[in-house]
């Protein structure tokens, strides 16, 4: 799996003080994210590829070997259309 994930059509990602968590907003709905989901989605800006996102997370949380977990989350998020994956050469 590689490419540059970014938010799906019509989705918005933000921190919600009233919920004390990151949320994903879409037409007439809201998904509350746990901390790791929020940290991953915060980095899905269509600029960074998966390798860069994993590296960034591993630095931020002084961890290693996160790629498997990140990929599993991304696969789920793409399946649910929260994210799109740009895989083109210019992507």
């Amino acid at each position: 799996m590689n490419g540059r994930p970014r938010l799906g059509h019509g989705f918005r990602f933000q921190w919600e003080p009233a919920q004390q968590c990151h949320v994903l907003l879409y037409p007439e709905g809201m998904i509350k994210l746990n901390q790791s989901g929020g940290e991953i989605l915060a980095r899905c800006d269509g600029q960074r590829d998966i390798t860069a996102i994993v590296a960034d997370l591993e630095t931020a949380f002084s961890a290693s070997g996160l790629r498997g977990d990140v990929e599993a989350f991304l696969a789920m998020a793409i399946e649910k259309r929260w994210l799109r994956l740009d895989t083109g050469a210019n992507a």
């Binding site: 059509h9 019509g10 918005r12 933000q14 919600e16 003080p17 009233a18 919920q19 949320v23 907003l25 879409y26 037409p27 007439e28 709905g29 809201m30």
Partner: protein, 381 residues
């Protein structure tokens, strides 16, 4: 009172900015006496309501009506809502929508437009022959998609169009819909007045669901279709508004704050006005919002029912409209002592050629006439 210990924030602020509407839908859920409430909140009032709602924790903001496009300040309200961090939804028929207006909404940061089909019998032929309505929706649909909004459509389904559900789905696909809600009419307000003409038979409903399932499979890669089953037919009370005063806060054109858009009809309850109280006080402390929270208000058969936390006894407005008692079990529940009202309406829908009264179209004149007659509670039978 057995009210929940902690009241969470509302998720939704629904701003019903006007009851004015160019359409006359026979299934409209606006109050039958809407013409009585002509005063509308000012722009400043709405801006304050938006700010207070956001401070309270609401994240979804809907602009509806009536037809919200009739408010000249809609772009200002959308802009403020977006700025405050709401996900902004415009719920519109598209009638009167122009390129310039859409550009203004885009600049204001509008997140999503839900385009509704409001074909009533006046327009059913037009709709079925794909002429005026189709042209309008196609034009509006193209304008919406050209600006990068997701294409979300809503069609109210009833006896007069249910036979054409396949064509409705086909048309939504031709318009590039990514999401289509096929919402069976719910019998409140104008739809209740017209219930005999609008309610489909069991067989019509079964066929419509089967056809929808076929299309769901066929269009799975590009369209999500939601078929909302009517509670009369399902025989199961709905968890109305996901719980009273739980996630939903409506503000009507004149500033009345409600836990759902039809709750104003309920007798014996005072609903506060946003011109007199702040939204925080309204949400947390008002009698109108607290009254049906939790299960403490329930009577039998709800009080001892195992499902009382699941469906909260169904819909309070439906209990009032059908059983004449807002504290009663929703009569769609087979355990309700008033269930025969619902089963009677269903049986009536099985008769193919019924001598039905003429349809009553939602317009200010009818509204005034019906309001005058409203002293007789005959609307409920």
């Amino acid at each position: 009172m057995n009210t929940p210990a902690k009241i969470g924030p509302p998720m939704w602020l629904l701003a019903e900015v006007t009851y004015r509407c160019p359409l006359h839908c026979v299934f409209c859920y606006n109050p039958v006496d809407f013409a009585k409430h002509e005063v509308e909140l000012s722009t400043e009032d709405w801006l304050r309501v938006l700010r207070e709602g956001r401070e309270l924790g609401a994240v979804q903001c809907g602009f509806s009506g009536g037809e919200p496009l009739l408010r000249d300040d809609l772009e200002t309200l959308i802009g403020e809502a977006r700025q405050l961090g709401y996900y902004t939804n415009l719920i519109t028929s598209g009638v009167g929508l122009t390129e310039a207006r859409l550009d203004a909404f885009k600049a204001a940061g509008l997140d999503h437009i839900q385009l509704s089909f409001q074909d009533s019998t006046k327009e059913v032929n037009d709709f079925l022959t794909h002429t005026r309505t189709f042209d309008l929706k196609q034009k509006v649909g193209e304008m919406i998609r050209a600006r990068g909004w997701p294409m979300v459509m809503n069609v109210v389904i009833h006896r007069l169009n249910i036979e054409h559900i396949g064509r409705i789905i086909e048309m939504a696909d031709a318009l590039g819909a990514e999401y289509l809600e096929l919402a069976n009419a719910q019998y409140y307000s104008w739809a209740l007045l017209n219930r005999d003409q609008l309610m489909p038979s069991r067989e019509q409903l079964r066929r419509a669901e089967a056809i929808t399932d076929e299309w769901k499979a066929k269009l799975a890669d590009r369209m999500r279709i939601l078929f909302v089953v009517p509670d009369y037919h399902e025989g199961k009370p709905k968890k109305c508004m996901n719980g009273w005063g739980n996630i939903f806060l409506t503000v009507t054109p004149d500033g009345t704050a409600l836990p759902c858009h039809t709750a104003r009809m309920l007798p014996g309850l005072e609903f506060p006005n946003v011109r007199d109280s702040g939204l925080r006080e309204i949400w947390h402390e008002s009698e109108g919002f607290n009254h049906y929270r939790g299960t403490g208000w329930m009577k039998e058969p709800c009080q001892s029912c195992d499902d009382r936390e699941k469906d909260y006894g169904g819909c309070r407005c439906q209990a009032f409209l059908l059983a004449g008692d807002p504290d009663a079990a929703d009569p769609v529940c087979p355990k309700s002592p008033h269930h025969e009202i619902v089963s009677g309406a269903l049986e009536n829908a099985e008769i193919p050629a019924r001598q039905a009264q003429p349809l009553i179209f939602r317009d200010p004149k009818e509204s005034r006439r019906l309001t005058q007659e409203a002293n007789s509670p005959s609307l409920t039978t």
